[in-house]
């Protein structure tokens, strides 16, 4: 018997975030479309809640309070646990964001939920729930049984496609924000500095990532990577050698201590393939390596390789891609 599944949403640019839409798609395929209910918290959660309707979610809980804007998982977990209980839900699904992971961690205690993050698939066998998730930087996959009556999972980015959007309404149910311990309201977010990352998609969301490494030799040469990425509408990443050298800011770093990405296509340019870097990108679907050193470890994990001088081949590749895409 499948209970209702609650999808906790996040707002981005006034609408549901892509991570939330993926969580809806994931929940619908696991629990059945009719069993999925939405949840949103924040001062202006009614308008983005309509996004749940367009994703085929017929009912959405909304907690409207300005104090909930940008609230951390701790505060929202209180509201989600009550909503999940009132609904009789057995599963909470969230997107693979910082907020999502924080929230499910809290639900592990507050809602006595079995918790898993970075989940790529979930199967129900009767009442039993089992998840699969990459571990060790994508070098292995584990399966875990979720024990007990409640489960809360944060999916891995791109683990599921967003549902196709169509005209549809979602019925709103208001949620009271009473009863949250004052202590949890005390922290204050003073501001957000949006990190400029150019016009391309964000690193963790992009379906194509082009990264540059030590082989690029100098900050000013990094424009070759930018141009190649732009030709593919890809996000730009970098290896640790590049961020350590200050050629690009730290938020470009892909690797164990940077961002972990799993795009459809990962193009590594002038990157040798230290384990530190591999742990951030090895779960990419297709990996292309461009490096002048045929013994570089990156060629062991790549699907396609060009043993070439990047300064010659990258501009040619950018041009060829532009031509092929009619740009």
């Amino acid at each position: 018997m499948t209970g209702p599944t609650l999808v906790v949403g996040e707002v981005h640019d006034g609408g549901l975030s892509d991570a939330t839409k993926e969580a809806v798609g994931f929940a619908q395929s696991v629990s059945g479309k009719e069993n999925v209910v939405g949840f949103l918290a924040g001062s202006s959660s009614r308008a983005p809640a309509a996004g749940f309707g367009r994703c085929g979610v017929a009912r959405t809980f909304v907690a409207e309070d300005p104090r909930l804007d940008g609230a951390v998982g701790a505060v929202v977990a209180h509201l989600v646990a009550s909503a999940a209980d009132s609904l009789g839900a057995d599963l909470v699904v969230v997107g693979g964001s910082t907020f999502g992971r924080d929230l499910v961690a809290r639900l592990g205690v507050r809602w006595s939920a079995a918790v898993a993050t970075g989940v790529t698939s979930l199967s129900r066998t009767g009442a039993a729930l089992e998840v699969r998730r990459p571990v060790f930087g994508g070098r292995a996959t584990e399966t875990r049984q979720l024990e007990g009556a409640h489960a809360a999972v944060a999916i891995r980015p791109h683990a599921s496609a967003a549902p196709p959007e169509s005209p549809g309404e979602t019925a709103l149910t208001a949620v009271s924000v009473e009863g949250i311990p004052p202590l949890l309201w005390a922290p204050q977010r003073l501001g957000v500095k949006v990190v400029p990352r150019g016009a391309g998609p964000s690193l963790t969301d992009a379906s194509i990532v082009v990264s540059g490494g030590r082989g690029i030799r100098a900050a000013e040469n990094f424009r070759l990577i930018d141009e190649l990425a732009a030709s593919l509408d890809a996000a730009v990443g970098a290896s640790r050698a590049v961020t350590d050298a200050g050629w690009r800011p730290e938020n470009y770093q892909v690797g164990q201590t940077g961002k972990q990405v799993s795009p459809q296509l990962y193009v590594a340019v002038g990157i040798s393939g230290a384990i530190q870097h591999l742990m951030g990108m090895i779960s990419s679907r297709v990996i292309v390596a461009i490096n002048s050193d045929p013994s570089a470890p990156i060629f062991k994990v790549a699907d396609y390789g060009l043993v070439a001088d990047l300064f010659q081949v990258v501009p040619a590749l950018t041009q060829e891609i532009r031509r092929a895409r009619g740009q």
Binding site: V104, G191, S202, V301
Partner: protein, 260 residues
């Protein structure tokens, strides 16, 4: 300031992964365990805070099986932590994240704690669940993805930044709270030989895990799989850069089907 740092032993990054004979977990036979990378950063952050605020103490806490958990506690003592507490769990597989948080909460709640520092996640299971679950058990706020932590001696509030999807957020939070660090230090300290030798003789307090730990809300590993070994890149042969570009675009289009 009383600082508690939570740490976890993880297989060394160079470990060749193998599946255990029963197929459910990593085979830890002959695996070398080390302090998890972000936990090492948390220890460094704790020691920096102590240095900036004389009179502070750093208490390192870990919940896990012998002998690896004791080893990382001793490694943390060798780095300069003042006190250590071990919640010893049965040998073999580490507790799942929420169970580990319950075990840690028993140890942390029994000692003074203004600030509880954790790493963002551990490089083995990469769950990142312990800090939030621990904070919920302690009844305090928690913050993930934290960078650039600052505290002025005697101040009621901690200041820090968070690296989230929204950008770099600036925060102020009262103590006590749990902070999960994403900081990577360029040059963290390493233990000196005399400190390593001395750490072997230092006392480690022991706390027993709950006698009847709840089984609801736990997860149990049932399968551990390794991908088929990558066979290595298919190298594209070419004479000119233009030919290389054309061949690569063709293969991405027609074979890999990832060309946008």
């Amino acid at each position: 300031m009383e600082i508690v740092v939570c740490v976890k032993p993880v297989p060394d990054a160079e470990t060749r992964l193998r599946t255990a004979p029963d197929g459910t977990t990593l085979d830890i036979e002959a695996v070398k365990f080390v302090l998890a990378g972000y936990d090492e950063s948390a220890v460094e952050q704790a020691l920096l805070l102590r240095e900036a605020n004389p009179g502070s103490k750093v208490h390192v806490v870990s919940a896990g099986p012998p002998p690896r958990t004791e080893e990382v506690l001793r490694a943390s003592l060798a780095l300069g932590c003042d006190l250590a507490t071990w919640v010893e769990t049965p040998p073999g597989v580490a507790p799942d994240p929420v169970s580990a948080a319950r075990a840690l909460a028993r140890a942390v709640s029994a000692v003074p704690h203004d600030l509880v520092l954790c790493g963002k996640n551990a490089g083995d299971d990469e769950a990142g669940v312990v800090p939030g679950a621990l904070a919920e058990l302690l009844g305090v706020p928690d913050f993930s993805a934290v960078l650039d932590l600052r505290w002025d001696a005697g101040a009621a509030r901690l200041r820090f930044q968070r690296n989230t999807e929204a950008g770099v957020e600036s925060w102020e939070a009262p103590l006590p709270c749990v902070v999960a660090l994403q900081q990577a230090w360029n040059d963290p300290r390493t233990a000196k030989l005399p400190a390593i030798l001395k750490s072997r003789r230092l006392p480690i307090a022991k706390v027993s895990p709950e006698a009847a730990a709840p089984t609801v809300g736990t997860t149990r590993p049932t399968k551990f799989e390794l991908p088929p070994p990558r066979t290595g890149a298919k190298l594209i042969e070419f004479k000119t850069p233009e030919e290389a570009a054309q061949k690569l675009v063709k293969v991405l289009k027609e074979e890999a089907k990832v060309f946008p």
